[in-house]
Amino acid sequence: MTKVDILQSIRKRRPVFPILSPDNFEPLPVALPGSLIEWFKKSLKTAGAEIIELKNTELDSHIAAAWPTILDFTQPKIRAEYPASAPLDKLNKIEHALFAGNFGVAENGAIWIEDKDLPHRILPFITQHLILKLDAGKIVATMQEAYQQFKLNDIEFGVFISGPSKTADIEQSLVYGAHGAKELTVILVTLNQKNITHND
């Protein structure tokens, strides 16, 4: 049986590395260029995303005005319209789709989305224009902190998204919109009447 053969072959030739235990490393230093929010915004811009900062009271009116045909997948009614069994042709017609991100990562602008946010897993990729709203208080510094925010064992599918889909496969020329969303807009939401301070 192949599995047994492979495992035996590994056991027979088990490597002896001068092991440095992965646990023997001090936490890495984190230098913050300004606040977490500023760092996050800068990373997202580099990744090709557009950023809008709104107070939570302005959110609905802004979204309705900016994208009249938007599908807001934070609403149960919309989620019910696009279940996992929805035909792909229907999903392929989506122009603007909105999801709530769970948290963001300052060092690279990545935003974590998981299946509980997605009635169909293909949605954030198949939409032409992706809009993610994120609580401005939910930003961590690095990927090492990011992986402490959730348990992979609770997640069937999850993705970090940083920017619109892109490619540079033709002469290293950067083009947005390879296969996934052509544009990404991130709405950073702050609570009304309150300036959030960060313990940077």
Partner: protein
């Protein structure tokens, strides 16, 4: 002339293209440097990544079994393949089981290594590569010339010509945005019609049975979520033990590969979609044979970022196709002879041994030392050309004796000065093929030193 040198000569015939290739990859290297420098503790991060991989490889049997146990609990079907042929047959069996017609594939160097596309083609099954660069070279019936930038050897005009022929884009059109849009439209149809999506694997987390795939284009996700059946293909060395390890590797991978802080999409697949099926195929194909070899086992730490290619002075100036192995460049030159010593015997020599690859490697593989070790092994096995071995033996003999060395030096200085070029640049002088011999000095350093430092005894 050796294979690599011969093909490199073809590549070098087009000088402007060679310059472009060299400079473009150097820009990628510079972007990588800027990103690496922006991360405090970058070197610690590399050391930690290396330690995680060493731990993973040292207990690979345990971690692979743990991965399988978790994956099975998650409703994933796991297959094991000893070699390329078994792997290809497993994929074929999955395709037949699901009566699949339309297969899409995102980037996977493993399927290239195993020759999957070719194998399936012979069975009458067409696989559509969905990474833009891979689709381009698939149209042109070529192989990738770089593991992260598969079509880096091509100019946009050539791609425009290919797309005109295959996708009906305007004749002569070569604007990258225009061509990318055409590919998007073409491949979206393929995604929507897909029965099975194949992907490679960047990391497989033992403790949760999750596979992680990183792309910029979103092609892995478009395929995986559109098709009812998803198949992830991984080499045994893709295992990382813990979820937290991903925090280390996702900081390193894209920065070191293309000078981005992270890929656009870092996708974590753990369970099949509702009503769908998920497979993971774990492939050995010669890896376990080298896992305990102290000379070469470090090569199994590779995370396929391509950083060593972008920095390599030989790769940049000779192009990926010169290597003749699916993974070119420095890392390919130590992996290739593991697969087939005779076929790839010249690749460890396609290097200046400058060690730049070691310096950029995110998991600290001692690439240039392994290249050197391969040279020794291949020479010991008499797999290097006779002239080279004879010349090296002769040189060793000359260099080991004082008298002979002095005499040879004096003769050489005279020879280079007085002999006609025709004699000096005979075919046996491989070194002189691309280089001009320097004007020799009148005396050796030793003679000069003795003359100018008479007080010091020789």
């Amino acid at each position: 002339m050796m294979q690599h040198a011969r093909k490199a000569k073809q590549f070098l015939a087009d000088e402007p293209r060679t310059d472009w290739h060299n400079q473009t990859l150097w820009i990628v290297r510079q972007k990588r440097d800027a990103l690496a420098a922006s991360v405090p503790g970058w070197e610690t991060l590399r050391e930690k990544a290396s330690a995680i991989k060493e731990d993973a490889l040292s207990h690979l049997d345990t971690y692979l079994e743990q991965f399988e146990t978790e994956a099975l609990k998650n409703g994933v079907t796991v297959f094991w393949a000893s070699d390329a042929d078994e792997f290809n047959r497993i994929i074929l069996a999955i395709i037949r089981k699901h009566r699949a017609k339309n297969i899409v594939k995102s980037k996977s160097m493993l399927t290239e290594e195993c020759g999957l596309n070719h194998f399936l083609q012979k069975e009458g099954i067409e696989v559509v590569d969905t990474d833009l660069g891979e689709r381009i070279i698939q149209f042109r019936k070529e192989i990738p010339s770089h593991i992260v930038l598969p079509a880096i050897h091509l100019k946009k005009e050539e791609i425009g010509e290919t797309f005109h022929e295959k996708l009906g884009t305007e004749k002569g059109a070569s604007d990258p945005t225009y061509l990318t849009r055409a590919a998007r439209k073409h491949l979206r149809e393929k995604f929507l019609a897909a029965d099975i999506a194949l992907t490679g694997v960047n990391f497989a987390v033992a403790e949760t049975g999750t596979v992680v795939v990183c792309t910029n284009e979103g092609n892995a996700d478009m395929g995986v979520h559109a098709a009812p059946v998803q198949v992830h293909c991984m080499g045994i060395e893709k295992i990382v033990p813990r979820q937290e390890d991903l925090g280390v590797f996702t900081r390193l991978l894209a920065r070191n590969a293309t000078g981005q802080a992270i890929t656009t999409y870092t996708s974590h697949y753990r369970k099949p979609k509702q009503g769908g099926a998920m497979y993971v195929v774990i492939v050995d194909n010669g890896r376990s044979e080298y896992i305990g070899n102290p000379q070469y086992m470090n090569s199994l730490k590779c995370i396929r970022c391509g950083g060593c290619m972008n920095t390599c002075p030989v790769y940049r100036r000779t192009g990926g196709h010169s290597y003749g192995y699916v993974i070119p460049g420095p890392i390919g030159s130590i992996l290739a002879p593991q697969r087939n010593k005779q076929k790839y015997k010249d690749l460890p020599f396609a290097s200046s041994l400058c060690g730049s690859c070691d310096n950029v490697c995110p998991v600290k593989i001692n690439i240039h030392e392994q290249l050197y070790r391969w040279r020794q092994e291949l020479t010991e096995n008499k797999q290097t050309p006779f002239v080279k071995r004879f010349a090296m033996k002769a040189l060793g003999f000359v260099l080991s004796g004082n008298k002979l060395y002095n005499m040879a030096g004096s003769l050489a200085r005279k020879a280079v000065r007085y002999l006609p070029d025709k004699l000096l640049y005979l075919p046996v002088n491989a070194w002189g093929r691309g280089r001009e011999l320097p004007v020799p000095p009148k005396q050796s350093f030793k003679q000069w030193y003795l003359k100018n430092h008479k007080d010091i005894k020789s």
